[in-house]
Symmetry: C2
Subunit: 107 residues, 2 copies
């Protein structure tokens, strides 16, 4: 067992989303995802995952819009939510002042 | 989807370990675990999990000893590790000055 810190090696700026796999099995994938400052999903794009996703904001903040809803959910550091499979959603914006770091568990 | 904060409702002191389920499926369980200040696993006790466990310290700190090793791994806030199934381990101590909060994913 090796240990590492979830906040290590976070660049101050990234040009596009960086996805790092932390752990993986046939049933689950755990990732650290770094979103650029002031990021938004491409226009008209909706994430539509095959698996459930539990997500925790480790740093920064974001607004996540679910299809059919009029306003996005605002997430800050420490905020978490579970997104059931095939629940279409998109990132409306992320913190403009720092990269946003997510912990995501797909299962 | 409801959101909540992973740092919400953490008591300043707890008498024994508190385990809260965050998400669950047949394949994975995500928990927040709060350990008392200055906690240690019962003498001679080894955790021996049927599932892999990925663990992240959210607050506090701990020393985790693996069977057959001479010294424990020291974990602080942000430190993570994966503990394969049936890897016997015990908590030697936790932070005496605050409760220690773990995020654990069993899979």
């Amino acid at each position: 067992m090796s240990t590492s810190n979830i906040f290590a090696n976070i660049p101050a700026r990234v040009a596009s989303e960086i996805v790092e796999r932390i752990a993986h099995s046939s049933a689950v994938t755990i990732e650290r995802i770094i979103s650029p400052r002031g990021y938004a999903s491409p226009g008209g794009f909706w994430y539509d995952g095959d698996r459930n996703e539990w997500v925790l904001v480790l740093q920064g903040g974001a607004a996540v819009l679910f299809e059919g809803e009029s306003s996005p959910r605002l997430l800050s550091a420490g905020d978490q939510m579970t997104i059931p499979a095939h629940t279409r959603h998109r990132v409306e914006w992320t913190d403009p002042d720092q990269v946003t770091v997510w912990l995501a568990v797909f299962y």
